[in-house]
Amino acid sequence: MRRRRFLAAAGGSLALSTAGCQGLLQSETTRTPPLVENRPDAVYVPSHIEGMEMVGTETSGRYRFALSYSFPHRFWLVTSDRVRKVDIGDEHSVHLMLSAWDTETETVIPTSSAAVTVTRDGDTVLSDRRLWSMLSQNMGVHFGDNVALDGDGTYEVRVNFGPVETRRAGALADALDDQVEATLSLAFSQATLDGVSYERLPDRQGQRDAEAPMGMLGERLPTGQVPPMAQLPGTVRGDVRETATGDAHVVVTTLSAPPAGIDGDGTYLAVSARTPYNRYPLPFMSLSATLTRRGETIASSDLTATLEPDLGYHYGAVVDSVESGDTLDLTVAAPPQIARHEGYETAFVGMDAVSLTL
């Protein structure tokens, strides 16, 4: 409702308001270049890359939060296998981003209930906005949305977070099951936002590659990357990255016993689906697995999304045993239902069954 009032108020001073709108439109247009033509069904270099302005960090219980913002920008939401583009609204002033991680294990949390309420001088500017779980090439997994602030000033941002719905295991087995609040102060100015780095990528856009993680606050904050394939715990059994995985890199490892917090006796089968290049986890998938040995099905199970510090976010199940030469068939009932920044919206959507020889 604020925007309309602003426009009504500005109507009395036509020259001024027109000048202001032109400035706004110019900067938005130049910062929203056309989408890359002929985007591949894979991770690709976006039309441009944006920096971000760090607002600050705050701790509540075991949760630690970092709040940052960038220019409002288009992103994509996913419902089943349908992807829809979300355009920037006239009223939007920033793309607000919240990163969250566990202080003890430094595990970044990709999915949870994450709501922000923004006030200024006691007036509510944004009430209980549920931020989307999002994936960005340089920002990694975070919670974000385009939001409307009310111009330059100091805002209070109240974060209501948790619990984490994903099954937790290992050193997180009994953690992150509470709901916490944290408050951060956001000193916003348009001038600061305008100073955030912005770079068009005319020579590289559309190529099958990705911008590197930016490493927030230098390297002091965790980036949310899962371990490199070779550093995954257990016996790494194989990997696949092809058209059928929608360019996702899917790595399979097995542990001789399930991590703490997971019931069952036997071998723990962990499937780590991650982005190529940057190794970000791909949450909100439905994955099921069938294990075949010498032509005989020996296990068939839905895999449960699990957050475990050493494996990172993955999909897992307990099976009796896994042997070299077994065949693992993975079926995807839903691709990652996480919102995507540009460069990720065409990847990890059309995902078919894949088969690996372990």
Partner: protein, 424 residues
């Protein structure tokens, strides 16, 4: 000037804001705009239903046989400051209630009302409620919500198609009116003090007229034909429990019911500006509805059923969650006993505090019936393995924040005035 418009404020918009604001001046202005020509109510209270919550026979029904709720609502909360309440106060409360019932007919155009009492009210007595009444303290019903429990002792739900009737009855009970509709009225005793009031509306056109609130984007997205902010019909008769189902069957409060009221904030910016219609239909109803284009407009084409059971949606909630999205009605329809829903919704939308709000009011035999329904509506079971989050793509939880919750016992009419836990 268009007779329905005055100074750019439509009549129904004005009436709603008058109900929200309350007070004598609002009532005077509201009455002069609405000018209801209503009969008075019955002189003999014995002609009124023994169940306070027996409204359905007095409501209008639409072309499909759905009960149409009154358009204007107030839920007024009182504290009872005398412990235990005296017989004199009990008598004064009953006299006041009967007086307003004599002023208006028992109908959607006249006055429909219930009076309920909270656990904190009953806690003042030395004895507990009988086992036949399930009335726990209100609680958080999902791991991701943290509502404030309502603490008022008494809640009076006042409903009418006329905002002036709602306002007038509230004022009469508070001693600000001597007459209503030409009938002398009396007030609650001074030992009852008003603590809070919730107001609202439901019905075609009203949400569209009141979308200039926080939580609704500037683009005026709420359709003109929608009875609620989220843009779709609700209250299909096949999704509603019958009044018999929600009635307490034995014990001293037989003929009564329990009432649950949640104050829920809506943030519909994403709903209207980022989600598409496919997503809205899939998450409000069921993915099968979105695939088949089952819902036209606000859903008036659906008849007396949201078509969720007909399309087998409850049974494939798990499979749909695995495929990435599950519907609100689909999840809720899993809560059935002998094939019938457990709760009777009498909710309404609101502009209270300048924010888009739902006052989700439901009646059920036991509060546990609501808890069970809400638990299935949460779909936390579906979020465990599937691709849906605890809020994302999981019905309409993404857009809702439960701020307060209260539980009340609505006694039968015979015990509606400051009852003891075991009235004779």
């Amino acid at each position: 000037m268009n007779p329905s418009r005055n100074g750019g404020v439509s009549r129904r918009a004005f009436v709603k804001s008058a109900v929200a604001i309350g007070g004598t001046a609002a009532l005077a202005a509201c009455t002069s705009r609405e000018q209801p020509a209503l009969q008075t109510g019955p002189d003999d209270p014995a002609t009124l239903p023994t169940r306070q919550h027996a409204w359905n026979d007095s409501l209008r029904t639409d072309d499909h046989g759905n009960d149409v709720p009154p358009r204007h609502h107030a839920f007024v909360q009182f504290d009872v400051t005398e412990t235990p309440p005296s017989d004199a106060d009990r008598s004064a409360v009953e006299t006041a209630l009967r007086s307003v019932e004599r002023a208006y007919p028992h109908s959607n155009e006249g006055l429909l009302m219930t009076v309920g009492y909270s656990p904190s009210y009953f806690s003042r007595f030395g004895s507990a409620l009988p086992d036949s009444v399930d009335l726990p303290e209100p609680q958080a019903l999902a791991p991701f919500e943290s509502p404030e429990p309502e603490t008022a002792d008494m809640g009076v739900h006042i409903a009418s198609d006329y905002g002036s009737v709602v306002l007038g009855v509230e004022q009469a009970l508070r001693g600000e009116r001597e007459q209503l509709n030409g009938v002398s009225v009396s007030a609650f005793p001074e030992t009852l003090t008003r603590t809070e009031r919730r107001t609202g509306f439901i019905g075609e056109g009203l949400p569209a007229d009141h979308q200039d609130v926080e939580g609704i984007p500037d683009s005026d997205p709420v359709p003109e034909d929608a009875p609620l902010y989220m843009g779709f019909e609700s209250g299909f008769s096949k999704s509603q429990a019958s009044e018999d189902r929600v009635t307490i069957s034995d014990g001293p409060f037989a003929g009564g019911t329990t009432q649950q009221l949640s104050k829920i904030r809506l943030d519909l910016q994403q709903w209207y500006e980022q989600d598409d219609r496919y997503h809205r239909v899939a998450t409000m109803f069921c993915p099968a509805h979105a695939e088949a284009g089952t819902v036209e407009g606000a859903g008036q084409n659906l008849g007396d059923s949201n078509q969720v059971a007909e399309r087998g949606c409850p049974a494939h909630a798990g499979a749909d969650a695995e495929a990435g999205v599950v519907g609100h009605a689909q999840k809720s329809a899993r809560a059935r006993r002998d094939g019938e829903p457990l709760i009777l919704r009498r909710d309404f939308d609101s502009t209270d505090d300048g924010q888009a709000t739902v006052h989700f009011l439901s009646l059920q035999e036991r509060i546990g019936d609501f808890v069970a329904t809400r638990s299935l509506m949460n779909g936390s079971d579906l979020a465990e393995d599937g691709a849906v989050g605890q809020r994302t793509n999981n019905g309409i939880l993404q857009y809702m924040t439960v701020e307060r919750r209260g539980n009340y016992l609505v006694p039968p009419r015979s015990h509606r005035a400051l009852p003891t836990p075991n009235p004779a």
